[in-house]
C-alpha cells in the first residue's frame, strides 16, 4: 500500500515545529511502528534525520509508545496501543497525520517524543502502599473478594502512557490518577492510607499543571487499557471523604 504521512517534526522543546510530508510504501501485515521503522530506514538511506518516536515492548504493555494518529491518541482502534495497531486498518492511498501527545504538562522533547515525567511524580506523591520489604504477613491472611480484586485489577491495568491526558481538552490527568487511587483504595491492604494518598496525589496533579475533569469522557474512549471513568467518580468520593467526611 502507498501512503502519505504528515509527521510532526520539532527539533527540541523551544523549536516551533511543523508538519513534514513523506511518501511511503507499506504492507498490511506491518504494525504501525514497523511502518515508521520503514520510514526511518528510508530517511537514513537519504542521510536525513529519522523521526524520533518512543516505543519499547511493542506488545502494548510498557506504555512507552504514544502518538496521536489522525487526531486520536493511539489511533482509531479502541483498547489498543499504537504498537498493537496494524496497517490492515488503513487503505492504499491514505494520508495519515501523526502528532505527539500534546498537553501543557507534557512538553515536546523532540518530534513525537514528549516528557511524561509528571506522571511519575504523581505516583511518587502517594501511589503506593507504605510497606517495607520484610513487613508482610502471609498472602492469604487477608481474604480479598474476587470482585474487589478484579475491580482493583481493572484499575491497576493502567500502563501510564498518558493517552488520557492527550485526549482531554482540559489536559487533565484524572483518569491516570484515579486509576491508581482506585487500585490501591479498593484493596484492604491499601485502604488504610487512602485518605492521605488521595489528597497528596490530587495536590501533585494540580501542581504539575494538569487541568480539571469536566466529564467529557474522551479519556475513557482513548484509554488503551479501557480504564473506566467510574474511577474518577470514585476518586472524587475518596477526596470528599478525606477532606469533608464526618470523620474529619
Amino acid at each position: 500500500m502507498k501512503l502519505t504521512l504528515k509527521v510532526w517534526r520539532q527539533n527540541g522543546p523551544s523549536d516551533k515545529g511543523g508538519f513534514e510530508k513523506y511518501k511511503i510504501e507499506a504492507n498490511e501485515h506491518m504494525s504501525f511502528l514497523e511502518m515508521l521503522d520503514v520510514l526511518n530506514e528510508q530517511l537514513i538511506s537519504e542521510r536525513k534525520e529519522p523521526v524520533s518516536f518512543e516505543h519499547d515492548c511493542r506488545e502494548g504493555i510498557c506504555g512507552t509508545c504514544s502518538l496521536v494518529i489522525n487526531g486520536r491518541p493511539h489511533g482509531l482502534l479502541t483498547g489498543t496501543t499504537t504498537c498493537q495497531l496494524h496497517m490492515r486498518f488503513f487503505k492504499d492511498g491514505d494520508t495519515i497525520v501523526i502528532e505527539p501527545f500534546r498537553s501543557r504538562a507534557f512538553p515536546v522533547i523532540k518530534d513525537l517524543v514528549v516528557d511524561r515525567s509528571p506522571l511519575d511524580r504523581i505516583v511518587q506523591s502517594g501511589g503506593y502502599i507504605s510497606v517495607n520489604t520484610g513487613n508482610a504477613q502471609d498472602g492469604n491472611a487477608i481474604p480479598v473478594s474476587k470482585e474487589i480484586s478484579s475491580k482493583a485489577f481493572d484499575a491497576a491495568a493502567c500502563i501510564g502512557c498518558g493517552a488520557c491526558v492527550a485526549a482531554c481538552p482540559n489536559g487533565a490527568a484524572m483518569l491516570f490518577t484515579s486509576a491508581k487511587v482506585s487500585h490501591l483504595g479498593l484493596l484492604p491492604q491499601g485502604k488504610i492510607e487512602s485518605d492521605r494518598r488521595t489528597m497528596r496525589m490530587v495536590a501533585q496533579m494540580d501542581k504539575e499543571g494538569f487541568g480539571s475533569c469536566s466529564n467529557i469522557g474522551a479519556c475513557e474512549v482513548e484509554c488503551p487499557k479501557e480504564i473506566k471513568m467510574t474511577n474518577i467518580a470514585r476518586m472524587n468520593r475518596y477526596y470528599y471523604k478525606a477532606t469533608l467526611g464526618s470523620d474529619k
Binding site: V131, T133, N135
Partner: protein
C-alpha cells in the same frame, strides 16, 4: 583465576538461614554514609533499590527509559512461582528446588537454587502487601495454576499481566523511596561504562539520553540489574531497547561472562510474518494448560493448509498429530520450554508445519472449550445443552482465563483464536547465561553485584516458566539487601568517592572516544541493517539447534560483519544531542562481541543440555544427551580482543540431587 562460589557450609536446607544469621552487618548510622548505585529498574533493580533504601543506604538508581515503570519485566505474562503449597498438592521448598535444578538440566548451583525456593513464598506475601491484585478464588484466597515442567500448581498470577502488576508493586516501593529522598532517580540515563578504583567497582559513566552529555556517578558498590541479551538475535520477545551493554561493559572491565550460550527459546510465540518485522510476541506458557499442540499427520494436509486450500478445522481428529502428548505422555503439552520448542521445530523440519512459511504449529483450544462448556452448563443447571451452547459457555470460560492473550493474538494476526487454532512457533525469549556471580551475587570484580536475568546463577541451561519473576524479586528483595553487607561492611570508614579523579577521567575519555569513533565512520548502512544481519547469523548457527561446523562459520561471519560495521556504519545527527541511532549503535556494537563469545561457548560445550542443543550429541530418538562427566561446570569467560577468549571453570557439585537423564515421558 580460581572461581570461588563462596557457598556457605552446612546442610542445604539450613545454609541460607545460618549464613544470614552470621553475616556482617552495617550499622544504621554507617548505612547513611554509604552510597549504592543500582542500574536498571525492572523487578530486580526496583526491588533492590527500594529495599536497600528502606534499610538506610543512599541509593542512586538509573534507567534508560523515561520512567522506571517501563522496564521489560512489565511484559511477563503468565505468573510467578512460589512453594506455598496452598493447593495442597504436595509442593514444598525442596520440590521447587528439585524441579528448578532438573528443569535447568543440572547446570545450576544447588545452594543458590535452594535459597531461591526458600524465599519464594516471601515474595508473594510482599507483593500482596504492596497491593498486587493476584487472581483469587471466590473465598477470597489466592488462586494458582500450573506451568511447564512441574506436576503441582504453584504459579500465582494476575490475569496475563503478572509481570506488569509485580513491577508496579516494586515501582510503587521505589517511588515511595524517591519521594522520601532515599533514592536519587536518574531517568533517561544509560550506563556506558563501569569505573574501577583499586580493582573495586566504584562508579559508572552514563550518557544523558536527552542531551548526549556524559556524566559520572560514584558509589561504594555497583549493582547491575540490567536484564538479558536475547536481542543479540535481533528478533526476540524482548523489548526493543533490551540490551547487553551494561553487563558487557562490565565484562570488558574484567567481569566474567558465564554460560553465554544458554539461551531460552520459548515454544509459543506468534510466528514471523515478514522481513520488516521488528519483534516477536509471546503467547504465555499458561496457554499450554488448556491448549493442545498439533500438526497434520499427513504431509499433503500440511501442504494444502500452507497453500490456504484447507483450514485446520477440515483436518479430522485421527489425522492430527498431537506430538507433545504422543512423545511425552507424562507431561503432555506441559513439557518444559526447551523440549516443547525442539519438538515443534522437528515437526516443521519434517515438513508438517502450517502457515505459508511452513514454520508454525497449532495451539488448539477446541477440546478445552468443549470441556469447560460442558462443566459450566452443569453448574448453571442447563440440561442437555446443544453443541453451540456448550461452545458459547466454553468460550466464556476461556475468555475469563486468557482473554487478554486471545485479544493480543487477534490484534496481531487478524485471526480469531476462539474459532481457529492459534499458530505458534518458537522464538528467543530469555537468557540463562549472564555475568558470573558467587553466592552473594557478587561478580569476580569486587563490589560489582549482578541481579536477575543479568546474572547466570539460578536457571542452569533452561529456565522453567514463571521462575524469572521469582528470581528477579528474590534477588532484589531478599538476597542482595543481606549479601551486599558482606562487601560494604569493610567500607564503613570509606568516604564518598569523588568523581574528579584519574580513574573517572580515563574511563570517561574512553567512552567519549568510543562514541566519536562510531559517529566518525559516516558509511552507508544503518545500525538496524547490521543488527538484522547479526540476528540472522545467530538464529541460523547459534539458535535452537547448533553444530560444530556451523558454530565455526558463525564465529567467522560475526567477525566479518563486525569489521564491516566499523567501516560502513552510518549514524545521522550529532553525538551531543538526543540521538536514538547512536544509542542503538553502541548496543549493536556490544552485541557483536557478545555474539562471538556465545558461539565460542556453544562450540566448547560438547553436549546437549537444556536450551543448548548440539546436533552431534543426541540419542537415536533425537533427545538431548548431556555429558556430566566432562561438562558439569560453569564456563565463565574472559573476553580477549584477539579472539583467544579464556575460560575459567567452576565445577558444579551436586550433593543433594542425583544427576539423572531428564525425562518427561
Amino acid at each position: 583465576m580460581t572461581l570461588n562460589g563462596k557457598i556457605p557450609p552446612g546442610p542445604l536446607a539450613t545454609k541460607w538461614t545460618e549464613y544470614r544469621s552470621k553475616m556482617d552487618l552495617v550499622a544504621p548510622n554507617n548505612k547513611r554514609r554509604i552510597e549504592v548505585i543500582v542500574v536498571g529498574t525492572g523487578l530486580a533493580g526496583a526491588s533492590a533499590a527500594s529495599s536497600l533504601a528502606e534499610m538506610g543506604y543512599k541509593v542512586k538508581a538509573f534507567t534508560y527509559h523515561d520512567s522506571p515503570r517501563r522496564a521489560h519485566s512489565i511484559a511477563a505474562q503468565g505468573g510467578i512461582n512460589a512453594a506455598k503449597n496452598y493447593p495442597n498438592d504436595g509442593d514444598s521448598v525442596y520440590r521447587l528446588f528439585y524441579d528448578t535444578i532438573k528443569g535447568g538440566d543440572y547446570r545450576s548451583r544447588e545452594a543458590n537454587v535452594h535459597r531461591l525456593s526458600e524465599v519464594s513464598s516471601d515474595i508473594i506475601d510482599q507483593s500482596v502487601a504492596q497491593g498486587v491484585p493476584f487472581a483469587r478464588e471466590y473465598g477470597g484466597l489466592l488462586d494458582n495454576r500450573s506451568f511447564g515442567g512441574v506436576q503441582v500448581s504453584r504459579t500465582f498470577y494476575a490475569r496475563g499481566q503478572t509481570g506488569q502488576q509485580l513491577l508496579i508493586g516494586a515501582y510503587g516501593s521505589l517511588s515511595r523511596q524517591i519521594s522520601l529522598g532515599n533514592v536519587e532517580m536518574y531517568n533517561r540515563h544509560e550506563m556506558l561504562d563501569l569505573v574501577l578504583v583499586e580493582g573495586k567497582a566504584r562508579g559508572i559513566i552514563t550518557r544523558n539520553l536527552l542531551t548526549g552529555e556524559l556524566e559520572r556517578f560514584s558509589g561504594h558498590a555497583v549493582v547491575l540489574a540490567t536484564g538479558g541479551y536475547g536481542n543479540v538475535f535481533y528478533l526476540s520477545t524482548n523489548a526493543m531497547y533490551s540490551n547487553v551493554s551494561a553487563g558487557w561493559r562490565a565484562a570488558k572491565r574484567g567481569a566474567l561472562m558465564a554460560n553465554p550460550c544458554f539461551v531460552q527459546i520459548h515454544p509459543t510465540c506468534i510466528p514471523v510474518s515478514g522481513d520488516y518485522q521488528s519483534k516477536l510476541t509471546l503467547m504465555s506458557e499458561s496457554l499450554r494448560n488448556d491448549g493442545r499442540v498439533w500438526v497434520p499427520k499427513n504431509h499433503e494436509d500440511a501442504v494444502s493448509i500452507r497453500e490456504k486450500k484447507r483450514s485446520p478445522l477440515d483436518i479430522k481428529e485421527e489425522d492430527r498429530d498431537y506430538f507433545l502428548e504422543r512423545r511425552y505422555p507424562a507431561f503432555g503439552n506441559l513439557v518444559p520450554r526447551d523440549v516443547a520448542s525442539r519438538a515443534g521445530k522437528t515437526a516443521c523440519d519434517e515438513g508438517n508445519g502450517v502457515s505459508p512459511t511452513g514454520l508454525a504449529v497449532y495451539l488448539d483450544f477446541a477440546s478445552a472449550i468443549a470441556r469447560y462448556g460442558k462443566s459450566r452448563a452443569v453448574s448453571e443447571g442447563i440440561k442437555d445443552p446443544d453443541k453451540s451452547t456448550i461452545i458459547q459457555l466454553g468460550e466464556k470460560v476461556i475468555e475469563e482465563k486468557y482473554g487478554n492473550l486471545f485479544e493480543m493474538y487477534e490484534k496481531i494476526t487478524g485471526e480469531n483464536p476462539y474459532k481457529l487454532p492459534m499458530k505458534i512457533y518458537p522464538a528467543i525469549h530469555y537468557t540463562m547465561g549472564g555475568l558470573w556471580v558467587d553466592y552473594n551475587l557478587e561478580s569476580n570484580v569486587p563490589g560489582l553485584f549482578v541481579l536477575g536475568e543479568a546474572n547466570f546463577s539460578d536457571h542452569g541451561a533452561n529456565r522453567l516458566g514463571a521462575s524469572a519473576l521469582m528470581q528477579g524479586l528474590a534477588d532484589g528483595y531478599f538476597v542482595i539487601p543481606y549479601t551486599i553487607g558482606q562487601f560494604l561492611a569493610n567500607d564503613i570508614r570509606t568516604p564518598v568517592f569523588k568523581t574528579d579523579t584519574p580513574e573517572f577521567d580515563k574511563v570517561e575519555q574512553e567512552v567519549k572516544d568510543r562514541l566519536d569513533k562510531l559517529m566518525k565512520i559516516q558509511g552507508n548502512q544503518s545500525v538496524e541493517s547490521f543488527h538484522r544481519r547479526l540476528g540472522k547469523i545467530m538464529w541460523e548457527y547459534v539458535g535452537m539447534s547448533r553444530n560444530g561446523e556451523g558454530l565455526q562459520i558463525a564465529i567467522k561471519e560475526i567477525k566479518k560483519l563486525r569489521e564491516e560495521f566499523y567501516k560502513d556504519l552510518f549514524i545521522p545527527g550529532k553525538v551531543n544531542e538526543y540521538n536514538y541511532e547512536l544509542e542503538k549503535a553502541t548496543k549493536v556494537a556490544d552485541f557483536m562481541e557478545l555474539a562471538e563469545l556465545m558461539a565460542h561457548d556453544a562450540l566448547n560445550r560438547e553436549e546437549s543440555c537444556g536450551g543448548h542443543f548440539r546436533e552431534e550429541f543426541r540419542s537415536p530418538e533425537g533427545e538431548a544427551m548431556r555429558n556430566d562427566k566432562d561438562f558439569a561446570y560453569v564456563a565463565a569467560w574472559e573476553w580477549s580482543e584477539d579472539g583467544m577468549h579464556k575460560m575459567h571453570k567452576e565445577e558444579l557439585k551436586f550433593e543433594n540431587i542425583e544427576l539423572k537423564t531428564r525425562s518427561y515421558k
